[in-house]
């Protein structure tokens, strides 16, 4: 079936055919024909944001919480450049988004025309792929291909730059087809011999550990189900990265908590001491490995990843398996069952005994107070009061993000949206808007820092306009707390520019946006105030005034290895903990 229509109409037609129901965007001269086409139809709904960065984060939240591709429409020049942070964020965290940018007419490209920028040049390093469409004939194919590339293999952002004359031009639209790209064919099935080898190693292991990551979430809910099955079958302990939280249920005894720089004592010690590491959909990020030469020195390493470039990038592994998590996990479960394999019972007993010793260290413990709200306590209460609801959590970046990861017990995948790889302050509010749009009836909370949330505060208008009752739970410590923590550790407590001066009154700010503001300053009032926040069917800014001096522990300081974690209640002075060389690092 093919139809004649304008380029602008093709864009809408292609979005609809790709199952896009919502597109986040901001208009401008170079996309007016597409906006005109949006105006004249009802298949695709446009969500007007207040800044193009917000549009991309909203699309990311939408994508991560649904498993679908998020979609964005922005104008040329400043519209496109404003989207760059969002694109980079999506690239770092492997989030599928398609961003359509307007461009000056083809004959003006390269002429420094009004609102011209080299969009494909600027976005080349921060997209999985990008296109400049130079003829109406290629537009339908490019649009469909963009969605295919964004969603398949290792997901990521794709930009389609469409000059204005192409939007006006008439051509023949064609529907998406099963298409085989010549060069681009991600591998889904893992090599069966390698998987067999992995299962044999698992059966023989004495101190095994699953180390899982965002790849499980990318792979889809089935991967989580299979992971849970395999973990139960084997009886092995499991830890996960920040990006993988929720893929395995946090309430289960086999769960050791998050690992890495702010991971638990038991997760990091188990990584250090294990004899078999089974890495599935994680990428040995530097927040995980710590000092490389001391990273899990005695283990045999299995690595399952869909992207060959993730394998042997930082850490040399023994059994690389290239494939999709769900596919490989399915094979692993089948082989384990078929072989009638049993884990080494005696060794596992010893291993768990050791792990329980580490766990008994209670590394997330903090000294609570009845006078001042401790940020950890605030998250714990938020968790207790929302866990039985249909809840989604997003975050900004900083201490509050780490406390959310440590203290909010995620039970399911796709419930946790955070900026991990790029660490983009200002991610959480627009992401929450995207999540809420996809789950209108659910409770969506952005666990925020007072500094981060101001970076995209303008999106409150978006939430109010589109009746998206997101809850912004601000852990207000009046500091860029994560920066303050590093200054305390590395720079002699000289808190250069990390005090967030001249903060707005968040309650009044909420009201100025026609939203609801709530302030809470006492631990005793917290439950009631959170209850009130949940009850309100409108956007809320919750100003939770917390202890200004709290630090986030455990912490593996720069220059240290997994078994050299700092704990909050450890006697060691933090100033002594970082070596001169460590100060050079971030």
């Amino acid at each position: 079936m093919s139809k004649d229509m304008t380029g602008a109409e093709m864009v809408i037609e292609a979005l609809a055919d790709q199952g896009v129901q919502h597109v986040f965007g901001y208009p401008g001269g170079a996309v007016l024909p597409i906006y005109d086409a949006i105006f004249q139809q009802e298949k695709v709904r446009h969500i007007l944001v207040r800044h193009e960065q917000g549009a991309v984060h909203a699309a990311e939240g939408y994508a991560r919480s649904t498993g679908k591709v998020g979609c964005v429409l922005v104008t040329s020049g400043p519209g496109a450049t404003n989207a760059v942070t969002g694109l980079t964020d999506a690239l770092c965290d492997s989030i599928p988004v398609v961003v359509i940018t307007g461009q000056v007419p083809t004959h003006l490209i390269g002429n420094d025309a009004f609102q011209e920028c080299d969009t494909v040049g600027i976005t080349r390093p921060c997209t999985k792929h990008n296109y400049l469409v130079k003829s109406i004939d290629e537009l339908p194919r490019v649009l469909h291909e963009a969605f295919h590339i964004a969603a398949s293999g290792r997901p990521g952002p794709v930009v389609v730059d469409i000059p204005k004359d192409i939007q006006f031009a008439k051509g023949t639209y064609s529907k998406p087809r099963e298409f085989a790209h010549q060069g681009y064919r991600p591998k889904l099935k893992g090599d069966l011999n390698r998987i067999k080898q992995a299962v044999e190693l698992m059966a023989r292991a004495k101190r095994p550990l699953f180390y899982t990551g965002g790849g499980i979430v990318n792979s889809g809910p089935n991967a989580s189900t299979l992971l849970r099955e395999l973990v139960k079958l084997t009886g092995f302990p499991i830890t996960s990265t920040l990006m993988g939280l929720g893929a395995y249920q946090a309430s289960d005894p086999q769960w050791l908590g998050m690992l890495g720089m702010h991971g638990t004592w038991e997760a990091n010690w188990a990584m250090h001491d294990c004899d078999l590491m089974i890495c599935i959909g994680a990428r040995f990020d530097d927040r995980i490995t710590g000092r490389l030469d001391a990273f899990s020195p005695g283990s045999t390493k299995i690595h399952v990843d869909i992207d060959p470039s993730s394998i042997n990038k930082n850490v040399k592994v023994d059994v690389p398996i290239i494939g999709d998590c769900a596919h490989v996990l399915e094979d692993m479960v089948r082989l384990w069952r078929a072989g009638g394999v049993q884990a080494d019972k005696k060794a596992m007993g010893e291993w768990w005994k050791q792990i329980e010793k580490w766990r008994a260290r209670k590394s997330l413990a903090y000294r609570n107070s009845d006078k001042i709200i401790k940020p950890q306590y605030a998250i714990q209460r938020l968790y207790e009061l929302t866990k039985d609801r249909d809840t989604y959590i997003t975050t900004e970046v900083g201490q509050h993000q780490m406390w959310a990861a440590q203290f909010y017990g995620f039970q399911e995948p796709n419930r946790w949206m955070t900026s991990g790889g790029l660490g983009t302050m200002g991610y959480g509010l627009p992401a929450a808007i995207g999540v809420q749009l996809a789950h209108l009836k659910s409770l969506v909370v952005d666990i925020a820092g007072e500094a981060s949330v101001l970076m995209n505060m303008q999106e409150m208008s978006t939430a109010v306009q589109h009746r998206l009752p997101v809850k912004i739970f601000v852990l207000n410590n009046q500091y860029m707390g994560m920066v303050r923590q590093w200054q305390e550790l590395l720079h002699g407590g000289r808190y250069a520019e990390s005090y967030t001066h001249s903060l707005p009154d968040f309650v009044k700010l909420a009201e100025a946006y026609h939203a609801v503001g709530i302030r809470c300053e006492k631990p005793g009032d917290l439950d009631g105030a959170i209850g009130e926040m949940i009850k309100v069917d409108r956007p809320v800014i919750f100003d939770c005034v917390v202890d200004q001096n709290e630090n986030c522990f455990p912490m593996i300081p720069s220059g240290r290895a997994h078994n050299e974690m700092l704990l909050g209640d450890s006697g060691e002075s933090v100033e002594d903990a970082i070596t001169e060389e460590g100060k050079m690092l971030v």
């Binding site: 494909v120 040049g121 080349r124 390093p125 999985k128 792929h129 400049l132 130079k134 590339i149 790209h181 010549q182 060069g183 681009y184 720089m261 530097d286 927040r287 490995t289 710590g290 000092r291 490389l292 030469d293 992207d307 060959p308 470039s309 394998i311 042997n312 990038k313 930082n314 040399k316 720069s558 220059g559 240290r560 070596t579 060389e581 460590g582 690092l585 971030v586």
Partner: protein
């Protein structure tokens, strides 16, 4: 302690190797920028790079890149190249079996008298062809392995070498198979 980094330590333990990679790509706008951008963005070296369309019907080009790095970095370079959507295949010509590597250079030499005669004599020994000649200058065309071209240029240096234009390396594997 050799390294106290939260970032991967520079892999000095492994030796640096030189490799020639052949890359088959879709001949579309921007493809070379993607490849070069990958190298500059990730801090990889390019010692030599050549590119030209090789299969007009299929719109395929072949890029030959000579690069340097530790084995782990070389593996990354190959994987990162393969990740680019328009890239079809990457073959490491240095390890995939015996391969032939060639380069072409045009060498301009100016001079009179004895040096001029000497330059011609050497060109003959190197099988360099004269492709342009005047009373005061020659242009030689020479093809061969890079080392051969290198030594020819060195010999021309005292004989009135004016300038050199080189193509960079192209490579192809021996035997009946293609890549």
């Amino acid at each position: 302690m050799s390294s106290t980094s939260h970032y991967p330590a520079a892999p000095t333990a492994q030796g640096i190797e030189t490799r020639t990679l052949s890359v088959i790509v879709d001949n579309e706008p921007g493809v070379l920028a993607r490849v070069i951008g990958l190298f500059s963005g990730r801090g990889y070296n390019i010692d030599s790079l050549t590119v030209s369309e090789t299969e007009h019907q299929k719109h395929l080009s072949r890029i030959t890149i000579v690069t340097r790095g530790t084995p782990m970095v070389i593996e990354q370079i190959k994987n990162q190249l393969e990740r680019l959507v328009p890239v079809h295949r990457v073959v490491d010509m240095t390890v995939s079996g015996p391969a032939i590597q060639r380069e072409l250079a045009m060498v301009k030499v100016a001079g009179k008298g004895e040096p001029r005669v000497e330059a011609l004599r050497l060109a003959d020994a190197f099988r360099a062809r004269v492709i342009d000649a005047g009373t005061e200058s020659f242009i030689f065309e020479i093809t061969g392995a890079s080392e051969k071209i290198e030594s020819f240029i060195n010999l021309m240096l005292p004989l009135g070498l004016v300038e050199v234009s080189r193509t960079g390396i192209v490579a192809i594997s021996r035997g009946p198979e293609g890549m």
